[in-house]
Point group: C2
Chain length 145, copies 2
């Protein structure tokens, strides 16, 4: 938490950006949530602490947190962009339940390796990837029986 603030502060000064109470509030609130949040969700939470904040500011600064390396965008394909921690939260993919929306973070180093190999096969240099596994979680399958 302190580290993240430090990184953000350094990023701001290095880029001639200013330290504002709104930015601090957004960063703090974002860091407190462990799960991914959409800009809208974060805005709703932040409004309670500072009703005067504008939602454009939340959108803007989530983008900024991504640029600073503190957040990462995730797109589950439902039309809403979400953000998750990027500092000390190594890359992972998502397993998503089609019926209840539950998500699980997963990683598989073998898959990652194979992905790189596929890319090379076609002359590509892999920069990143998105992998979303959709299915039905244990709970939901029990219920539907």
């Amino acid at each position: 938490m302190r580290e993240e603030r430090d990184i953000f502060g350094k990023y701001l000064s290095r880029h001639n950006l200013r330290d504002t109470p709104q930015r601090e509030l957004i960063l703090d609130t974002f860091l407190k949530r462990e799960e991914h949040v959409s800009a809208e969700q974060l805005y709703d939470i932040i409004k309670k602490r500072d009703p005067s904040i504008g939602q454009a500011t939340v959108y803007r600064n989530l983008k900024l947190l991504s640029e600073a390396g503190l957040a990462r965008e995730v797109d589950f394909g439902d039309g809403v962009l979400r953000y998750e921690h990027n500092y000390n939260h190594p890359h992972h993919d998502h397993l998503i339940c089609r019926s209840c929306g539950k998500t699980v973070e997963v990683v598989d180093t073998v898959i990652e390796e194979l992905q790189k190999r596929i890319a090379e096969q076609y002359g590509f240099e892999l920069t990143d990837h998105k992998m979303y596994l959709y299915g039905n979680c244990g709970n939901c399958r029990k219920k539907s029986k």
Copy 2:
């Protein structure tokens, strides 16, 4: 092509849907394009043959083609939904160039197998997945040097 029309025709009658010239035109035009197209792109192409067609009709019927199993939605994450052939075009993933947008269809049965295993590990029953590999293609890397 004849097969696809057949499937579509059967799908329509089975669902009490009607065979219209617009639908036929949309299906034909879609089938002629081998690469993925967005509704907007397809609309632009179709307009030339039938300027009276409405773009809502194109949107509607691409959705319908998906339901009929002739098309498949692909979401590269740029805010535009694209459609690709689903008949006689087995599942595959995409390798996408970040700088020129070139795409390559790829499959890796080992990855597919591992994905299923991961899902099971967490009690999920895998229904489908999305995997997009982003990078820079050979051409673009040469150019940027």
